[in-house]
């Protein structure tokens, strides 16, 4: 039995992206839920399973049930960091296929920008890292970037080109938080924070939320918008703390991507549009390699000179990504919402013509959890 094409996203929405003054994380979440239910034309009372993960509320699944007035059959609060929501879609597909639930809601929200102006996290420094005061999580990614540059000759310019591409996509997205022009020189001249990463290598700090409604494929066409089918999914967890990573240049995306693509029966060359969790510029290079879009060590050359920008050889992070569109702390759900928009043909100026097959990929912890989803239109079933 395969989960390929058995469940579909029938509703999707964003809320509070950018700055949501005076709103709590859960209020932003519920606004996104309201939007996704309206998009799907599903009644709140029909939701019988919920999934969420919020940065500070360890029991956020329970809070969500309370806020929605639901008594769900399943409450999922799988905490793998920013990748959680791509894991939730897989659990949703399992519940739906086994007929343990009929309508699954997946959602997230955060007010980190207006509440604190910096990354809000319940995590402290790990015991064996704390004596050395690494910046969390920035120094973890800086170490990965340093090693990639040492081992493969990846350049400062190539890292910068990831941020430049994200900004070029953001300029096509009216909902993106920062749309000013950005050049390679701007990135390289920005403030050094933790070598080799500079301010413009780092994701934004914004508010924002997103929500998805999933149902079985057989009922997916009862909803007004084109269903987006979950064709494959996979996970990989290699460590929690960066000092424990087996190989700084290979992430769990190698496992999660291979698993997801095998389930979906697709290969990287088949994918029309890719959404990767770009917490830092190095992430995109690592994930493109590990997911098979290029060979290990060639990610820098792949992204160089507009390779993943509009008009490049692979459209990556068409909303502008966490680097330029939205990043409230756990970005994974935004990869899914942007994939849905591309596959529905709703992406406006940034629409990839004829997009039928999308990859959404989430990162959690410090390159620790990797979760890949392959999504497709009805034509890919």
């Amino acid at each position: 039995m395969s989960l390929r094409g058995k469940a579909a996203i029938v509703g999707a929405a964003l809320a509070g992206c950018g700055e949501a003054h005076g709103k709590s994380a859960m209020e932003i979440t519920v606004e996104a839920v309201h939007g996704a239910l309206a998009d799907a034309v599903v009644s709140l009372g029909d939701v019988d399973a919920i999934a969420t993960c919020q940065p500070l509320d360890m029991l956020s699944g329970l809070t969500l049930a309370q806020e929605l007035g639901l008594n769900p059959k399943f409450t999922m609060n799988n905490r793998t960091g920013g990748s959680s929501f791509l894991s939730h879609t897989l659990w949703a597909a399992m519940l739906l296929e086994l007929r343990l639930a009929d309508t699954v809601l997946i959602c997230y929200g955060s007010n980190q920008r207006t509440a604190s102006g910096k990354l809000m996290t319940a995590l402290g420094l790990p015991t064996y890292e704390a004596p050395y005061k690494p910046m969390f999580p920035l120094s973890s990614y800086a170490l990965a970037a340093d090693r990639h540059m040492t081992q493969f000759g990846t350049t400062r310019e190539q890292l910068a080109d990831v941020a430049v591409a994200a900004r070029a996509w953001a300029q096509k997205n009216p909902e993106a938080f920062i749309r000013d022009p950005l050049t390679r020189e701007d990135v390289i001249a920005s403030r050094l924070v933790s070598d080799p990463l500079r301010v413009r290598d780092c994701c934004l700090v914004t508010d924002g939320g997103g929500a998805l409604v999933m149902r079985r494929a057989e009922t997916a066409k009862d909803h007004p918008r084109p269903p987006v089918y979950l064709l494959g999914g996979g996970e990989g967890t290699t460590h929690r703390d960066i000092s424990e990573v087996p190989d700084l240049t290979v992430t769990g995306a190698a496992q999660s991507g291979a698993t997801a693509m095998k389930m979906a029966g697709v290969k990287p060359a088949d994918i029309d549009v890719v959404q990767l969790y770009d917490a830092f510029t190095i992430n995109v290079i690592l994930f493109l390699e590990d997911l098979g879009f290029c060979k290990k060590g060639e990610g820098g050359a792949f992204v160089e000179n507009g390779g993943i920008a509009p008009g490049g050889h692979l459209p990556v992070n068409t909303n502008g990504g966490g680097l330029s569109c939205v990043h409230p702390g756990m970005y994974g759900i935004f990869t899914l919402v942007e994939a849905v928009r591309q596959l529905r043909g709703d992406a406006g100026d940034r629409q990839i013509d004829g997009a039928e097959l999308a990859m959404a990929h989430g990162n959690g912890g410090v390159l620790s959890s990797q979760v890949t989803n392959i999504l497709g239109t009805e034509s890919t079933l």
């Binding site: 064996y128 004596p131 050395y132 170490l143 090693r147 040492t150 050094l192 924070v193 070598d195």
Partner: protein, 140 residues
């Protein structure tokens, strides 16, 4: 891989402090030791209850050679009035384990992957004892 057996080590575990506490107590006495698996011979760091290679609970404490090689390095940039820049590194010990640390006695820009270093006990950010490294004398 052999099946995990509940040997006498496990019985002993119940009444002794956990490996984190043992490591910290040794460090406080000026001793840097890591674990070695009695079943498969793998060295283990950070300290654990069972060997992540084979699952055995037969983990003893050994003194490492203290020789290591820088695997990756970053420099956290801080204004002088906030304490100035400092480095953070990942070091591969000769025993095959990796740890986060800091390299003293060298400029930040001279630290790079491949640099040979030697461990000693210095001071961590919280003022407590911490394993730190210096460049291996005579090596580059």
């Amino acid at each position: 891989m052999a099946a995990i057996t509940l040997d006498s080590e496990m019985t002993d575990m119940k009444n002794s402090p956990g490996p984190d506490a043992v490591f910290a107590a040794k460090l406080a006495e000026g001793v840097f030791e890591i674990q070695k698996c009695g079943a498969c011979g793998a060295h283990v760091f950070h300290p654990r209850v069972i060997c992540p290679t084979c699952g055995s609970a037969d983990l003893g404490w050994v003194a490492p050679t203290a020789r290591g090689t820088i695997y990756a390095r970053t420099v956290v940039r801080r204004k002088p009035e906030r304490g100035g820049d400092y480095n953070v590194v990942l070091v591969d010990l000769e025993e095959g384990v990796r740890m986060m640390s800091r390299v003293d006695g060298i400029t930040h820009d001279e630290i790079a992957a491949g640099l040979k270093v030697r461990a000693s006990i210095g001071e961590g950010a919280d003022g407590g004892p911490a394993v730190v490294f210096r460049p291996e004398r005579g090596a580059s």
